[in-house]
């Protein structure tokens, strides 16, 4: 996952404000949280910045698959242990006798399900990191020893 600083170093660093942000650093933050896209920075489309633009786009590839809450599930790292399914407080509230007690989910209101040995995210709008009253919840990241769930 790229850092804000890595993205910033590749930008023109002129603070031209053409993108609508006040500084290039602010634009880098917006890029990482997927609120802005690379072409919105007009100076970088110039031929002299071609290499930097390509590198910037390649750095942003891992964030492309993120859900609206910024959640990325890496299926190649997931072992299907189901820790996140059981630990997620939303899953527990929506399915207290299934996922809440450590069993498999019994309804479709849960966020995580293990399908074919890999975790898949559903109902992403139920996530505590989504919406107006969002909180910085770590309940699904901490129980994952392989780092298969990430937020960007």
């Amino acid at each position: 996952m790229p850092t804000v600083m890595e993205l910033y170093q590749l930008l023109p660093k002129t603070n031209c404000k053409k993108c609508g942000e006040s500084t290039c650093m602010a634009f880098a933050v917006a890029l990482l949280s997927r609120k802005k896209k690379v072409p919105e920075c007009t100076p970088i489309l110039d031929e002299s910045f071609k290499k930097q633009k390509e590198k910037l786009e390649s750095l942003l590839i891992p964030t492309a698959g993120a859900e609206e809450t910024g959640m990325i599930v890496h299926p190649e790292l997931c072992t299907g242990c189901g820790n996140c399914v059981v630990a997620c407080p939303v899953d527990v509230a929506n399915d207290p006798h299934g996922a809440g007690t450590g069993c498999a989910p019994t309804n479709d209101k849960v966020i995580f399900k293990v399908i074919d040995g890999k975790v898949v995210a559903f109902n992403i709008k139920e996530c505590r990191r989504f919406g107006k009253n969002k909180v910085l919840c770590y309940a699904c990241i901490d129980p994952c020893p392989t780092g298969a769930i990430e937020f960007v």
Binding site: T79, C81, G82, N83, V85, V86, A87, P89, V92, P96, G100, T101, G102, C103, A139, D142, P143, P145, T146
Partner: protein, 331 residues
């Protein structure tokens, strides 16, 4: 010698024990070089033990000792121990449960335990237990006092604690396993659970214990005799067996190379649902139905609870139980 039966149903194990009895053979399973000593003490009620449901409903301190449960067992943390909500543990793992890992390396279980991982040197378990016992009795331990006193504080405060004793701990203290028993006796709220390897190993140990009073390495010679020389490793080393019947196990892969050479000079019969190294060198191989999938029955879970396992798919293979039954008829 009859070896294995840990991956068979309890019914098949009863038939296996009956067969060994009839032939005056020796019988052993993988617990002789696995968790046999701990299970024997659990069956003799040397320490408290509990069901996994009790762990889920009540446990607040969970100690994974020499065990990487996250990687080596199917869903132990998410199904029964750290993450699920229980009757008196409703607030989730962050507030209600404390997971502690004691291991020689930072395993995936230790990563989940985050700040409560105690790394110990190889074979340092005995020293660690003695230091912990000193700390529990109010003395300052010589070995890493700060961390040990912190751990002793957690253990003392526990309302319902469980020590999941893995193979790492058992191997390390195998000459003095009673040191763990004394530690368990110092912790009145703690339960000890041996983390077994095969799914029905405890079932075999319980069945043989009921029949003979010993959990493994038994020779039927009119009456059952228990001796270490009847364990698979010692018997192969001493070349004291002249035929081996293996049921659902793979000694060729799991035993040291120095002792398995004897297998080449004796007839080996293998009953297994899979193709293994042992089935390849066996003179007779009988393909069996895999239990819990192609044939049903009962099995004993690692905490001692009997579980009914249903048959899921139809197939033409005989179960271990039927095969052993037919052999028993012929004998």
């Amino acid at each position: 010698m009859l070896f294995g039966l840990d991956n068979s149903t309890s019914e098949a194990q009863a038939k296996g024990i009956a067969l060994a009895k009839k032939l005056n053979a020796a019988i052993d399973d993988t617990s002789s070089f696995c968790q046999g000593q701990l299970i024997e003490r659990a069956l003799l009620k040397k320490f408290r033990t509990c069901y996994l449901e009790d762990v889920r409903n009540n446990a607040d301190v969970l100690v994974y000792w020499g065990s990487d449960a996250q990687d080596s067992q199917p869903r132990p943390l998410s199904r029964f121990s750290v993450f699920p909500r229980g009757e008196s543990r409703q607030r989730g793992y962050e507030e209600d449960r404390l997971a502690i890992a004691i291991d020689v390396r930072e395993s995936n279980t230790a990563k989940i335990c985050k700040g409560h991982f105690y790394r110990i040197p190889l074979r340092g378990d005995r020293e660690f237990i003695l230091a912990l016992m000193e700390a529990l009795s109010g003395k300052v331990p010589k070995y890493d006092p700060k961390r040990i006193l912190e751990l002793a504080g957690f253990l003392k405060k526990a309302q319902f604690g469980v020590i999941f004793a893995g193979i790492g701990l058992t191997y390390s203290i195998k000459d003095d396993i009673d040191v763990l028993v004394s530690l368990a006796q110092m912790l009145p709220n703690f339960h000890v659970m041996p983390m077994v390897g095969q799914y029905n190993m405890r079932g075999f140990n319980e069945a043989l214990f009921k029949e003979t009073g010993f959990v493994n390495s038994v020779k039927f010679d009119g009456k059952p005799v228990h001796d270490n020389k009847y364990s698979i490793v010692e018997a192969l080393k001493a070349k004291s067996i002249d035929a081996l019947l293996v049921v659902g196990s793979d000694p060729l892969s799991s035993l040291p190379r120095s002792v398995i050479s004897h297998l080449a000079s004796i007839p080996v019969i293998c009953i297994d649902p899979c193709v293994t190294l042992t089935s390849k060198i066996a003179q007779v191989t009988i393909p069996a139905a895999s239990s819990g999938f192609e044939c049903g029955g009962r099995a004993v879970r690692m905490d001692g609870k009997v579980i009914e396992i249903p048959k899921v798919v139809e197939n033409q293979y005989l179960s271990d139980e039927d095969i052993l039954d037919r052999i028993l008829d012929v004998v």
